[in-house]
């Protein structure tokens, strides 16, 4: 019909593996920077994981400065932020104990009552809960990685599982590093985003690995580097196509989905790009460490 797919050659023949050393250096540097950032700067933890109180209000003819003035006279640790539009303001407070927080919400509300049109939401997470949520988040991510590793191991050879997990760990660390540098809030939704990125990235990797396995059977004499290159090229248009449609949906979510969902959408956009990159430039080259040949295959 329109035939725009002709832009991508039907049988592309890019030498992806030839570039592997350059990209490996790029990735290693990125990961080192990410680890450095995570240990020095850390993540911008939201109240889910830090505990505290959050109140979202819509105001009438009141500037954020006015509200800040009213509240900072009573609270030293209050922070205010415009949220999507000028008259929607997010108020954050750190609280020590559970009891204190309940009182805080009430007193904040009464202090700014007459400046506010609507209290859109209020959230409070106690210190015990926030540490539990953090623990469970880590648990979910680690179990997911292990389960995926086991699945790939069963379906492919263990070398593939290794390659996939190297790529996944790369994606998670890289994404966390970017979250840290961009100061994007790390919340429960971010954990969901990271797990989805893991799912997406592995999805991408599996499609290429599937082709590697098939080609290992088909071309028994081909050099491994060439065989891997061929496999990446075979699946290239699919890789690009799926990333683009996913990114289209995510960009739409980022722009139109509302303020609350924006950090999630942004994290996913970052993750999808990194995940696509890593499938081609990390997962596949990792397989080169192993000297496996078709005779290892089970058919």
């Amino acid at each position: 019909m329109f035939g725009l797919n002709k832009i991508i050659p039907v049988e592309p023949n890019f030498n992806f593996l030839g570039l592997r050393r350059n990209f490996l250096i790029v990735s290693v540097i990125a990961i080192l920077i990410s680890i450095g950032l995570l240990s020095i700067k850390g993540l911008n933890l939201g109240i889910d994981f830090k505990g505290g109180t959050l109140i979202e209000v819509s105001t009438k003819n009141t500037s954020i400065g006015e509200l800040r003035e009213i509240l900072s006279s009573s609270y030293s640790d209050v922070s205010l932020q415009e949220f999507g539009s000028e008259n929607i303001i997010l108020i954050r407070l750190q609280n020590k104990s559970n009891q204190e927080s309940i009182e805080t919400v009430n007193s904040v509300k009464s202090l700014i009552q007459d400046k506010v049109v609507e209290f859109r939401r209020s959230e409070f997470v106690g210190p015990t809960i926030s540490s539990e949520l953090l623990f469970r988040g880590f648990q979910a991510v680690s179990f997911a990685l292990i389960a995926i590793l086991i699945y790939i191991w069963l379906r492919f050879e263990w070398q593939f599982g290794f390659g996939a997990v190297v790529a996944l760990t790369h994606d998670v660390l890289f994404t966390l590093g970017l979250l840290s540098i961009l100061n994007i809030e790390f919340s429960l939704a971010t954990i969901a985003a990271i797990l989805t990125i893991a799912g997406y990235s592995i999805n991408d990797t599996v499609v290429i690995f599937d082709r590697v396995r098939e080609n290992l059977r088909k071309y028994k004499k081909l050099e491994l580097v060439d065989l891997f290159n061929l496999s990446v090229n075979n699946t290239l248009s699919r890789t690009i196509m799926t990333s683009l449609t996913t990114l289209l949906a995510l960009v739409s979510l980022f722009i139109f989905g509302g303020e609350v969902i924006r950090p999630f959408a942004l994290t996913m956009i970052i993750g999808v790009i990194i995940g696509t990159y890593s499938s081609v430039f990390i997962a596949v080259p990792t397989l080169l460490i192993f000297k496996f040949r078709p005779q290892d295959e089970d058919d």
């Binding site: 019909m1 039907v10 939401r121 106690g126 979910a140 969901a192 075979n234 949906a249 989905g257």
Partner: protein, 516 residues
């Protein structure tokens, strides 16, 4: 249709039809419909419809401490019966250590104690008796406290007039509350913030030196006034009668005292109350709520009717709420709010609107893109994509899943990822067409070859989604549900519906060549 069995067409078409039909209730979304069919709609999560989520923790430590004090009191009584003197009693975190002046009757004391509290760990060490609150004993206390608390919380919430609350145990010592439509949970929090332990005690106004020196004689307690901490009362520790003997309580208005709570005792309570008031005319009777005195009127005459009023500086709402608390009964231990999330209806409506726009625009973008790239085949994939969306909605509706804001994000994400299976198939068909001449063979090979890749790729995503559900909480679960359903639905639509549509197209267009 050529090369396509009729039974397969019928299966695909009927599944598609079911998917569309069962999406109708959620699309119409008649909130109050009682119609059996229209009731199968998506439940909106609190973040979309507005409401409050509260997580309460039962303060078990208070109960353990109480039980340890009971141990100490019982040991005192038992040793008195056994004519043994106690040198000292030390209450520690998990045990009571009683030191006797001699160890002549320590075994008898231990045995009588064990009769009263089976399950505790008792150890004798010369003239010391260790009473330990062990883990099994704690678990019994814990379970019964949570059960009781759940019941009381349910009663209180019901009395407050909240519609369709969800109240359930969460983990070992927590209670989870979902209150749809409750915009401002302050009143609910007030209702739950009180233990509401009501007791009546005789006031000792004679022993004035005890109050002055702040020394509590055995069998007495010193408590403060609810309105002024500096006003102290010396009361008999033993209560005359307690809230558990109440059968009714309601807010009332008294000409001289203002708003009050009138109450009625059951037969047992009325008898006890009658007896004590008869014997103590002229003394004062303190009404204690959660350890503070609300009021302490003088007993002018015997009260044998079994009913009375509690006065205080109440306003109408306070009197009504106190009545609710008294009717529902006392909590075994205080509840602490450890997590709270409240969303106003305005934000919820905004989120739904934004989610819908994002979904529609994402959908249009993906559809346009697919047509640009794959032409007529892209259009076929788009039909699958739309049906896919219907199936997700109908599955959510029929299993009664709750749609949350992250859930909407999951749907939008699925729109982008769902075409993946179609893309895999089309790319395979493209490859096959360079090796084959027969058009149906090309299509068949394309689908067959793509199948295992599609399965592998989607199962890994499903693993991530299932683990998200298992370890995630609240809103995250909503996301994992829509993501899982989306993945499952997209496998069906790609492998069956797109397949069907491609064959349908080929047989009608009578193509000799694929222009993919």
């Amino acid at each position: 249709m050529k090369n396509y069995p009729i039974w397969k067409s019928l299966t695909v078409l009927s599944l598609v039809l079911l998917g569309i039909i069962f999406a109708i209730p959620s699309i119409i979304y008649d909130e109050n419909s009682e119609n059996w069919f229209l009731k199968n709609k998506i439940n909106l999560g609190l973040d979309l419809q507005g409401g409050s989520y509260l997580l309460l923790e039962v303060q078990l430590d208070v109960l353990y401490k109480e039980e340890l004090e009971n141990f100490a009191d019982s040991v005192r009584l038992i040793s008195r019966d056994n004519a043994t003197k106690i040198e000292k009693i030390v209450i520690e975190e998990n045990e009571v250590i009683v030191t006797f002046t001699d160890n002549n009757k320590i075994k008898e004391i231990r045995d009588s104690f064990f009769q009263m509290y089976r399950g505790v760990t008792l150890k004798i060490n010369n003239n010391k008796l260790n009473i330990k609150l062990n883990d099994e004993y704690k678990k019994i206390i814990q379970d019964s406290a949570i059960k009781q608390s759940l019941e009381i919380v349910r009663k209180r919430i019901d009395e407050s007039g909240t519609k369709e609350p969800l109240i359930q145990r969460s983990g070992k010592k927590r209670i989870l509350l979902q209150l749809p439509g409750v915009k401002d949970p302050e009143r609910i929090k007030d209702l739950l913030g009180k233990t509401a332990k009501l007791t009546f005690h005789i006031v000792d106004d004679e022993n004035t030196s005890a109050l002055q020196n702040n020394l509590t004689p055995f069998g007495k307690i010193i408590v403060s006034d609810i309105y002024d901490e500096n006003i102290k009362y010396l009361l008999e520790k033993r209560s005359v009668v307690g809230g558990e003997n109440l059968v009714d309580a309601k807010g009332s208005f008294d000409q001289t005292e203002g708003h009050a709570v009138s109450f009625r005792f059951d037969t047992e309570g009325a008898q006890k109350f009658g007896k004590v008031t008869t014997n103590n005319i002229g003394k004062r009777m303190a009404v204690l709520l959660d350890g503070v005195v609300i009021t302490a009127p003088r007993i002018n005459s015997a009260i044998t009717g079994g009913s009375g009023i509690i006065t205080g500086n109440f306003n109408a709402q306070e009197a009504a709420d106190l009545a609710v608390l008294l009717r529902a009964g006392a909590l075994p231990a205080p509840l602490e709010i450890v997590e709270e999330r409240s969303v106003g209806a305005g934000l919820g409506a905004d989120s739904i609107a934004a989610g819908q726009i994002a979904a529609i625009i994402g959908m249009v973008l993906v559809c346009v893109f697919m047509i640009l790239i794959y032409g007529i085949f892209g259009a076929l994939a788009n039909i699958s994509l739309i049906v896919n969306l219907f199936i997700i909605i109908s599955l959510l509706g029929t299993i009664g899943a709750t749609l949350t804001l992250p859930g909407i994000a999951g749907i939008v994400l699925t729109i982008g990822m769902a075409v993946d299976a179609n893309v895999l198939i089309f790319e395979r068909i493209k490859e096959e067409s360079s090796k084959q001449k027969k058009i149906y063979q090309i299509v068949k090979n394309g689908f067959d070859r793509a199948m295992s890749t599609i399965l592998d790729a989607n199962i890994t995503t499903l693993i991530a989604a299932v683990l998200l559900f298992a370890f995630g909480s609240g809103p995250i679960r909503g996301f994992s549900i829509t993501l899982s359903l989306g993945v499952i639905a997209s496998m069906f639509t790609a492998l069956m519906l797109t397949n069907f549509l491609v064959y349908l197209y080929l047989s009608f267009a009578n193509k000799k060549e694929l222009n993919l």
